[in-house]
Subunit: 409 residues, 2 copies
Amino acid sequence: MHEFFKVKKVSEVLSEIKQFESLPKERVFLLEALGRFLAEDLSSPEDLPPFSRATMDGYAVSAKDTFGARETEPVILKVIGEILMGEKPRFSLRPGEAARIATGGMLPEGADAVVMVEYTEENLGLVEIKKPVAPYENIIQQGEDFKKGQIVFARGTQITPAVIGVMAGLGITNIPVRKKPRVAILSTGDELIPPEKPIEPGKIRDINSYSLFAAIKEAGGEPKIYGIVPDVAEELFERLKVAFEENDVVLISGGSSVGTRDYTLKAISQLPGAQLICHGVAVKPGKPTILGKVQEKAIFGLPGQVASALLIFYLMVRPLLLHLQGANEKHLFLKKILAYAERNIPSAPGREDYIRVKLTPFEKGFTATPIFKKSGLISSMAEADGFLRIPESSEGIYEGELAEVFLLP
Amino acid sequence: MHEFFKVKKVSEVLSEIKQFESLPKERVFLLEALGRFLAEDLSSPEDLPPFSRATMDGYAVSAKDTFGARETEPVILKVIGEILMGEKPRFSLRPGEAARIATGGMLPEGADAVVMVEYTEENLGLVEIKKPVAPYENIIQQGEDFKKGQIVFARGTQITPAVIGVMAGLGITNIPVRKKPRVAILSTGDELIPPEKPIEPGKIRDINSYSLFAAIKEAGGEPKIYGIVPDVAEELFERLKVAFEENDVVLISGGSSVGTRDYTLKAISQLPGAQLICHGVAVKPGKPTILGKVQEKAIFGLPGQVASALLIFYLMVRPLLLHLQGANEKHLFLKKILAYAERNIPSAPGREDYIRVKLTPFEKGFTATPIFKKSGLISSMAEADGFLRIPESSEGIYEGELAEVFLLP
């Protein structure tokens, strides 16, 4: 830890974050995989669907047998049987033949389409076809969803309900993912008491440990609260050492006064092999953020102001947690939309500004209304739908201008 | 169950859904409450913060004592002490006095602002103030976040990390929410086999049970898979009866062929007190949806096509599950944005169309590119970012027009 004061841009911190190694792989059962990220490319062990199947109730036919069919001049085909659901047909179609089939039924050899029952009339073993079908009409072809051997999902794909559906369909039930990051939360400050204790004069309840706990869970991590550390350098170091050994990431929150900030920096630097990635970020709010790297583990010193701590969480910690889980680049950041600024929002160039905003839909999109409250107030975060970003090169956003808004998850 | 064929609009089904009773209340610990919904209005048992506190390191002062201060002509105040972090000051300020204070410290009586340490110089018990402060500058006032007795959050509010932070700050750790809905999943179809079994000719793996399981979890429900029911009316009824007794909501998926659809309808109607809310919805895909109400419990017959089943889940089942959890109206539906159609998308009037789309950001917002694939293909859902809605009165969307897109969660 050489450089004492190392202010970085948000983008610089983010590129440093991507240099942390992802966590080891593990395999989980399909139904446990929701929200996690594939640790390997997944290829299809078989065709999906495994055979060509009907998507309508009707008659399996060879499409070319139906060409020219009309209401007034139907084509007549011989019905050679019925296809039972869940069974392989015991016959194949020859020209001029058809077979009854229900939705989901397997097409017999010789058939390449299904005529909907509404356009047919069956009598004495013959069926009148009153409307032609094109080849492959009203069927799903074998392998139309996925072909055997094809890459189905790339490494880093997030496992959504539809992805789980695909894996179920392909018979893949043992899913390679990466371990969930264990994340320690320490809060520093002699003024803090836990929320369940009665309030005392001069004390304030620990907000950050609890809101960070929830935010870590939402980001797929496994949070653990290590409690409130008094403003004593040795105690912070001892507690940090334990938290560091038991976890993949450590968040030290609080320490907003200059003295405590120094303790945090010192405690991190005392861990063997500590490297300081940044001390200060060119962002408002959240400037006094610290990030250290110790033996492939990340330690953040987060600002004490509650709204600042959560912003930095979403801006830097959450991307790291997702990266450690092997998430694809596009999943690392909060979902972003564009919204029209409801009023002028000034900003100082040289740093990025993130303004808490409420979003109101109108006929052209969203209006973003800034919530101008101090970053020590948690209510401003509870009211916000997202953060409006003002780039570091900008002196602000004009009323009616489009701006990027990151949506709170 | 009188009306046999009862096609409803999506909006009609949604207003029926809101008539189901929310589930009973329960209390959970703060850290277990993430993602759930407040079952009661929450009022503030105390002021937050409980006292006026500094947001900067510096000197607590009476702002009017600093008026006129300049670099070249500082105001000089007497330093009467230091405020210790986490303690009530043992003195109050009189005119002409100041006290050292760190970020988070409690303001003494007589102080209403803090001068940042950067604009001061202390010597021999006196401090030079080189810049004036306005009243309340660099402090957060007692109750500025929330005042005692104030309604902090209304019933139905979703519990986010910031909401958890507020509750921690106010000492509220025992949170009133509503029970999670237990949701049964039955799949019907002689062609289905579970994903872990080897594939057989004519069979296809059960996709819907697994993707619905995951979607129910995302929506805060407690899913349980009741397995694959053969296409035999009595077996479906027996299995449905058990699932109905053990759960708050039942989803019967599959039954896309006319015969099986009839079984589903018949099985639902055999339950005592069954009312048919809809049989058929004016929506594409998803038309063959059934919704029955049996003793305050909902039973859905979902379409068998995988993409249709998931669409109807997001359009109707998810809102019901959130409503049962006591969610505020605005949380019931998927997040909605506007996006520019990448091409003409035709639609038949008289029904709502939901087109799976991929979203691509550009400088004015998002382009929505339709994924034109059959609704029996699960790949189309796995690729989609959301559903573009074409209202029932419309004949389609033109290229470049703005359209509503519901984002997949």
